[in-house]
Symmetry: C2
Subunit: 247 residues, 2 copies
Amino acid sequence: MQRGQESLDAVKVRTLPVQVAAHLTRRIVRGDFEDGRAPSELDISREFGVSRVVARETLKILASLDIVDVAQGRRVVVRPRAEWDYLSPLLIEWLPEEIVGELLQELDQMRVLLEPELAAMAAASITDETLNRLRDELDRMAALEGDPDAYLEVDHEFHMEICRAADNRILDRIMYSARWLGTASRRITNEAPAALRKATADHAEIYEALLARDPARARAAMRKHLSNNSALLAEKKQQTKRAARRR
Amino acid sequence: MQRGQESLDAVKVRTLPVQVAAHLTRRIVRGDFEDGRAPSELDISREFGVSRVVARETLKILASLDIVDVAQGRRVVVRPRAEWDYLSPLLIEWLPEEIVGELLQELDQMRVLLEPELAAMAAASITDETLNRLRDELDRMAALEGDPDAYLEVDHEFHMEICRAADNRILDRIMYSARWLGTASRRITNEAPAALRKATADHAEIYEALLARDPARARAAMRKHLSNNSALLAEKKQQTKRAARRR
DNA sequence: AGGTCCAACTTGTCCTATAAGCTGATGACA
DNA sequence: TGTCATCAGCTTATAGGACAAGTTGGACCT
């Protein structure tokens, strides 16, 4: 299986269409098709040395992320960046770090708006079963403070559990879409291990509020927890800015 | 071009894969594959009388909506309904009315959480240009009170304009995903034309607050506007319940 | 100059073939 | 009899070639 001039053959992590889509997206971000005309199926097929089937699926992926518009007979056109699907973990993965940094802040803003309310909603309708699972996750997190990666895995599960308890499929989906936050913020939180202990205390407080089925207290506890997180992010942003100024 | 036993040939509104995906989703919702094993590419190809390419793209669509899991060598499996992408207008279109009704309420809950804050954020950073567009849309809505469909079109644009002004791509995307609300709620609002005049007044108040660049007032105005909407939805829900009880 | 129409290009769909990955059942071995 | 390696048969992934159908821009005619 031969490839074209673009080297895709690093490691076969994903299917060919996904790899090609990643390359193309990066080129679009770089500004290669500023006239709005993106490569056609045949162009892609030739340039990357893949079959038309793969080129086709590549365009389907880009279209599903609202990166391009595809229609029979018409040329493929790049859509305005403002309309891209920034909720998709796939897209995030392909964006340059500085944009992801900005998105991380915007996503944090969203969490601050939603999660306290989700906690309050959950407090009103949470089941004993869910409470048990939360208790369990709490214990596991306490044991994992030395391993930030594993910790954040459980951390995310803890938050999603609460989200699910709020019993709203739309909000649940939104928070689920934000799961890439975990991967992206990992780098940040790893640098500040002391924050993990603080997080554990926060989580315990949220759990207590839910156990007491007290919406107001759950909201407040979640809000406090998130404000710690936001502070960390803002600090990181400052560092990035300083680094940029040094350049 | 001949079709299989399932009749897809109503009107060619969309591509074949989309039509087949719609049919399959409806069957999944109906509970046809409760064992979790969904039809394979060949199954679909045979049953609907389409080529394997189309069957393949069908599965890709279902996978992108998190309705099924597809992997090489493994059978296609249906994912738990809780994990489906309820933010996708495509999926919503294929769901039975009663589920859409529930989702409408959950979506309303989301809007109540987000939109007032979006309005407040917008008030802090809105440009004169955006204000002009809002003014224009306000005028157009006033003229369109007799035509609910056209009215709601502009209504949606008005809300999205504010959302964009808040300058947060994530939140913007979330609200954009909720655009199916327009179509779905159209039926409801059409029944209560008096509500349109009320909405116009609400919109004007929001506009005034933005013009004054007063976040708190913008938040309050938006909250009031949405509470009217929520009331309408709740009323509709009551009617549906009564109708169900009669059955 | 203005309008009509067609040729070239583009995506949509079909067919057939091969590669690659998974699963369950068969059968060898302890 | 129980355990484990192996493989046949299923599945998706990719390739190549063909034709249908829709769009666009330019050639051509008036």
